[in-house]
């Protein structure tokens, strides 16, 4: 007899009491050479900012490795000092979030082929009874993205654009908005 899985419930409007960390946005320590910043806004179906959301990210390191025992290639401590792989940012009054990280490497797929560099993303908010899951890819990896099996499986090609972080005005800056609903709704996944 296997125990039934515990259902999800919304984080509600007061997640800031329990979840934000001072170092949450830092997947790598501040000042890490080659670090990039991914910023954006979480927007609702009316296009208004969501000021009480939490964005979490998880990714491989630049050498395509995870320091995790379930990676069949073996757990590897990253060559990037202080690499945590995990980022967490609560949104501000403008719906803005920020993740400081390094670009992940591409990943081999179990059945062959290669996944383009990406971050897995969870978004939690009041109004979301369960997390929503999306991915951040990089717009300047066009060739890798074109061969990515997850992107390629999205039926409407124009919706793939919602998963691309685009280079910003400053070096090392990428912009990635998350539209929860409505026109240009971000692609969300069932994982």
């Amino acid at each position: 007899m296997t125990p039934p899985i515990t259902p999800s419930q919304t984080v509600g409007p007061f997640l800031a009491i329990g979840l934000p960390w001072a170092d949450g946005p830092f997947v790598v320590p501040d000042g890490t050479p080659g670090a990039i910043t991914i910023t954006g806004r979480v927007l609702d179906g009316a296009g208004d900012p969501v000021p009480d959301a939490l964005v979490e990210t998880w990714q491989a390191d630049p050498d395509s490795r995870f320091d995790h025992p379930d990676d069949p290639r073996g757990a590897v401590t990253s060559a990037t000092p202080g690499f945590r792989g995990f980022g967490r940012s609560a949104t501000d009054q403008d719906g803005g979030y920020r993740i400081v990280t390094v670009r992940p490497g591409p990943l081999p797929c179990p059945a062959g082929g290669t996944e383009a560099p990406h971050l897995d993303v969870s978004v939690f908010a009041r109004g979301l009874l369960d997390r929503v899951v999306t991915r951040i890819y990089f717009a300047d990896e066009a060739k890798a993205n074109a061969a990515d099996p997850v992107l390629s499986a999205i039926a409407e090609p124009e919706r793939r654009q919602t998963l691309l972080a685009v280079p910003g005005a400053q070096a090392g800056e990428f912009l990635f908005d998350i539209r929860l609903r409505g026109e240009r709704e971000t692609v969300f996944f069932d994982v």
């Binding site: 009491i17 960390w21 179906g45 009041r126």
Partner: protein, 242 residues
Amino acid sequence: MTAETGLILPRYQRPEGVHPPLDYPEYRSSQLRAPTRPLVPMPQWLTEVTGPLLGPERVAAADADLTTRHAGEPIGERIIVTGRVLDSGGRPVPDTLIEIWQANSAGRYAHAVDDHPAPLDPNFDGGGRCVTDSDGRYRFITIKPGPYPWRNHPNAWRPAHIHFSVFGRAFTQRLITQMYFPGDPLFAQDPIFNSVPDRTAREQMIARFDLGLTIPDWALGFEWDIVLRGASATVFEREAHQ
């Protein structure tokens, strides 16, 4: 294209019918925020079967006792909340971070956005964290949160609850939920509790009172296990070509 990559990955159970639907109009806040497009199926590959292994480095011993962090003791009914984090195969999830937050005994959150006219408690902030032990067990000391009104529908009240955030060992297992208390008269009118379609699954969110867990003359005890999606031990995402 098929290749002999040798990448044998765990496959996590898909919890059909367990979680609430995202689009659930009875919960008013979902109407502008829940996606309306169908979710796109995603494989469970390297990024999904791994995840942050956050543990003792994120907590201090005092973080598991919400009653002793301020100058005085908080007002309210002192309780122990304990249980295990398991996967759906019944295996404990050890060394994993649990974060909680809750209202005070008057039903007021220590948060600027909460304007419920109930008193704040200077001795209670409502946040806590701990790490499960080698058997997957966690334990918090806190005070029982009060119910509170919200504006979802006329005379709407939330049943008393504690928010729980759990990581497990893989991105697929990440869970944020709420723990409720047995016999709460507010369940029937609460759309968040009732958004879970299956009755057995709803009851998974209700802690069990246990006289054996009380500390005599000091605190009442509640037990609540958290069950995450388990990984199949026998099914692999591997093409069987040799």
